[in-house]
């Protein structure tokens, strides 16, 4: 190093020690500084935009030259002639003329670009495929293949799809040449943003079977003076068991036909077993149980006498004057007592046999048969109307409304009309009266007047399509239109999150504030998160990184939203907010209850996580870049709440790392960690470790969506059993 010699400095560095230092300085250049390639390309684009603006402004001297009025007309005419000549000439030329190479793409500047498509880059001249492909660079790092159609190059990600939620930049460098050898004068960059990934498939609601042929309104049988409809559909929705005004238990096919009598008289209550294989009914002071397959009827003769009959799984349950009973190995067992004071009458047994409703004087109660605790339903004078198919909620009338209540008597929703009701497996409630039939979801949504006319005591068939009802003294049957399905709770919460973020993006703090509860307002209050994001770089877009239901009662959802900040068109930075939404008990809408913010991350510096889907036994992590597979297994891990690494099987395909073999515990917290050892195919490491906290998914369904009542295998209608 002492041999440093620079003639320019000979006269000032004569000392050996100084020369040595100069040699050190020359040889020991500082390492290249950190450089954000996105900044380099972004600045270039800004400069080019400015250059175009300057270039276009330069012809203003022509306008000044022709400004004097005397020359204005002459100038205008000359200009018109010139323009006309240019137009005629250019009509025969390719875009950009013969000398200028023009690059374009229909994706440039677009947002929400679909994932399953190639990136088309068009040129106004035939290109040398080899040099053009070699000059094409895609960021984030993506393996691509090329194909050509005339002057259009299709850039197709090797893995199939583009990454979701990602800003892509496709740059054609200056080494691209035309077929004639002309070079591209300056690099051209196409910028676009892809749409979110397709939502995971939601389980389709139980298919609604439309009877074939569809049933018109049809009178099936006389109820012989009955004041109400005591009836139940067979499990396969093909036939109806009913009790007429004389106490006869009969069966009639929903499509019509002869009535088959099962019990001639004295029947006061009936219930078909959940498995659909047996029918229990109260006749006189006995309970008779008809097994459809054998046609055999068994008898129970409880004391005190049964009033109402139902089922708890495969066991008969009944009410008597002093309580609710069931079968036991050595006879019968009383599940719960009814009050001993006042005028008490059992009203209904839940479909799952876990609850019963009774009246005491003018008051309505729901009784939990497991705890023997009762809860009052509504004010005095309330009338029981129907159970939800799963027996977890019920309907009662109070004044002019129907109330949806849980088994603790807590109001879940209030429906705007009253009447006799039935709750279907498709979560549609039919409300009948003298003058109309109304259909509505249990949350009060999609309320529709279905038919005008008399529809008393509607009763849904298990398929949720047909229903029986009473008109005059006859049993009728028809079908009701399907209501739009209730969105799953997570979708309802997502709607609020999107509306909240949209309002913030528009700078509408007032609107955004309406989606915050008191606690949420604190989170975005003074010293907290910014409700309206201002400054440079600008808040340009957002997307939901992950979403999950984390609780019930009340429904609670957790979202991680990524806010992307841009300079010009270029995404340069992002940060995340974790939002916790809770369903408001009054409005039943989700409100943002908690919010926390994460650190800012510079973009364009290695692969970024753009989507995380948490399943029961796997977690799928999607990146914006193609990854070096060798860096994934040890680089993408899950830690449990104690920080211990969870054992997983790691697979990788098309930008998505799947961590499977998990046994995530419901409501337990976990952390997804992407270490900086993960590399993209261009060799860039993840800029900084990325952490995402999440919870083990709930196995239960949330919100108003309930498990559909499983229709048992169709049972043949029994042969009429002479009593």
């Amino acid at each position: 190093m002492n041999s440093y010699h620079d003639p320019e400095l000979d006269d000032v560095l004569q000392d050996d020690e100084l020369r040595h230092l100069a040699a050190v300085l020359r040889s020991g250049r500082t390492p290249e500084p950190p450089l954000d390639e996105a900044f380099r390309t972004g600045l270039r684009r800004q400069l080019m935009q400015e250059a175009w603006a300057i270039g276009e402004g330069r012809d203003s001297w022509w306008r000044r030259l022709f400004a004097p009025p005397g020359l204005a007309w002459a100038g205008a005419i000359a200009g018109l002639l010139l323009i006309a000549a240019v137009v005629v000439w250019q009509a025969g030329q390719p875009e950009g003329g013969l000398t200028q190479l023009v690059v374009s793409s229909n994706l440039d500047g677009k947002n929400s670009v679909a994932l399953a498509q190639p990136i088309f880059v068009s040129f106004n001249q035939p290109m040398n495929h080899e040099t053009t492909q070699a000059a094409t660079q895609v960021t984030p790092a993506t393996n691509v293949t090329f194909s050509w159609s005339q002057n259009t190059m299709a850039v197709q990600p090797t893995g199939g799809n583009l990454a979701p939620n990602t800003q892509y930049q496709v740059t054609i460098g200056p080494s691209a040449t035309t077929a004639a050898g002309q070079r591209l004068s300056t690099p051209q960059t196409i910028t676009f943003v892809t749409q979110p990934p397709a939502p995971p498939p939601t389980p389709a609601p139980t298919p609604r079977i439309t009877p074939t042929p569809a049933l018109p309104e049809k009178a099936l049988a006389s109820l012989v003076g009955s004041a109400s409809l005591k009836a139940q559909w067979s499990a396969d929705s093909s036939s109806i068991y009913y009790i007429d005004g004389k106490g006869a238990l009969s069966l009639v096919q929903a499509k019509g036909g002869d009535v088959q009598v099962i019990a001639q008289d004295g029947v006061t209550s009936l219930a078909i077993a959940p498995a659909g294989d047996r029918l229990a009914y109260v006749r006189g002071d006995k309970i008779e149980v008809l097994t459809f397959a054998s046609g055999k009827t068994d008898e129970l003769a409880p004391t005190p006498a049964a009033v109402l009959v139902g089922w708890a799984k495969d066991k008969v349950v009944w009410t008597a004057a002093d309580g609710i009973y069931t079968q036991a190995d050595n006879g019968l067992a009383r599940l719960a007592a009814l009050p001993a004071t006042g005028v008490v009458a059992a009203v209904a047994i839940a479909p799952d046999g876990a609850h019963a409703v009774y009246t005491q004087d003018q008051n309505l109660f729901v009784l939990d048969l497991a705890t023997t605790k009762s809860a009052q339903l509504g004010p005095a004078g309330a009338t029981f109307r129907a159970w939800s198919p799963d027996g977890t909620q019920l309907l009662y009338s109070a004044g002019d409304n129907l109330v949806v209540a849980d088994m603790a008597g807590a109001t879940q929703a209030t429906l705007p009309t009253s009447g006799e009701a039935s709750w279907s497996s498709q979560d549609a409630i039919l409300i009948g009266s003298d003058t109309l039939l109304y259909e509505v979801h249990p949350d009060g949504s999609n309320g529709t007047r279905v038919y005008n006319g008399t529809y008393h005591f509607p009763q849904w068939a298990p398929n949720g399509a047909a229903f029986a009802f009473m008109r005059g003294t006859f049993l009728w049957v028809t079908v009701a239109p399907a209501l739009p399905p209730i969105p799953p709770a997570i979708d309802q919460a997502a709607t609020v999150v999107n509306a909240f973020m949209d309002a913030r993006q528009k700078g509408d703090a007032n609107l955004a504030g309406t989606m915050l509860d008191a606690s949420g307002k604190q989170a975005y209050g003074q010293g907290g998160l910014d409700l309206v994001v201002t400054g440079d770089p600008k808040f340009s877009r957002y997307y939901v990184l992950t979403q999950e239901m984390v609780g019930t009662q009340p429904d609670t959802a957790r979202f991680v939203v990524r806010l992307v900040l841009s300079r010009g068109k270029l995404d340069v930075m992002s940060y995340e907010e974790t939002l916790t939404l809770v369903r408001d008990p009054t409005s039943h809408n989700f409100l943002i209850d908690q919010a926390t913010g994460g650190p800012h991350r510079d973009l364009g510096k290695g692969a970024e996580v753009v989507n995380v889907v948490v399943g029961q036994d796997n977690v799928k992590v999607t990146f914006d870049s193609d990854l070096d597979p060798g860096t994934i297994a040890d680089g993408v891990v899950i830690l449990d709440s104690k920080g211990k690494q969870v054992s997983v099987t790691t697979t990788y395909s098309n930008k998505t790392v799947t961590l499977s073999g998990l046994d995530l515990k419901e409501s337990s917290s976990y952390r997804l960690v992407v270490l900086s050892t993960v590399r993209d195919v261009a060799g860039n490491n993840v800029a900084a470790e990325y952490d995402l906290d999440f919870f083990g998914p709930s196995e239960k369904k949330h919100g108003n969506h309930r498990d559909s009542v499983t229709s048992p295998s169709p049972t043949p209608s029994p042969a009429a059993q002479p009593s």
Partner: protein, 185 residues
């Protein structure tokens, strides 16, 4: 014989003077060195990006006025950069000298760390950071950017003699500072 790369650069400059849309080629050619130089002065990425943006934006707008004096085009860009860096710190904190920013004190922990590693290269460059800003700029342009004295003179708006003097003083001061850090043997 003329320098082909200089001829090439002259052509690029002339084209950009005539049509600002041709400035991209000059940007591509000089971005890295200007960014590196700016970063070496401000030592912070966001600031380096801001200043680099300003340098090229000013250069683009001033292209029609650019006169080829026979010096490399980069010298003109460095000149804009030197002024932009000075402006930036004047604007940010008028009473604080540029040397106070990112001043790596000889007694500071970073330097102790460097000394502990006995890494001469890094130690010397750390010492450069502590030099008065004119000396530092001259040394960076000379030894890191490998510029000629005349070009540095253009960039810094000084005479060639003044630049030589800055370099001499800078290297001499480095020698003195390095001596104080040298472990006792």
């Amino acid at each position: 014989m003329s320098d082909p790369s200089r001829d090439d650069e002259r052509e690029l400059v002339e084209r950009a003077k005539g049509d600002p849309r041709q400035f991209g080629a000059l940007y591509d050619r000089h971005f890295q060195q200007i960014y590196r130089f700016v970063y070496s002065r401000v030592r912070e990425q966001t600031a380096a990006e801001d200043v680099t943006s300003e340098v090229f934006m000013k250069a683009l707008k001033a292209m029609p006025r650019y006169q080829d004096t026979g010096r490399p085009f980069a010298a003109w860009l460095y000149q804009i950069a030197v002024n932009a860096i000075a402006d930036r710190y004047r604007t940010l904190k008028p009473t604080q000298a540029i040397d106070d920013f990112h001043d790596l004190s000889v007694a500071g922990p970073a330097l102790e760390d460097l000394a502990a590693h006995r890494d001469e290269l890094r130690r010397i460059w750390a010492l450069v950071e502590a030099l008065p800003h004119q000396q530092r700029t001259a040394l960076v342009l000379k030894f890191q950017e490998d510029m000629k004295i005349e070009d540095i003179a253009v960039a810094m708006g000084k005479s060639a003699g003044a630049i030589k003097l800055l370099i001499h003083r800078g290297v001499t001061r480095l020698r003195d500072e390095a001596a104080t850090l040298r472990p006792v043997e």
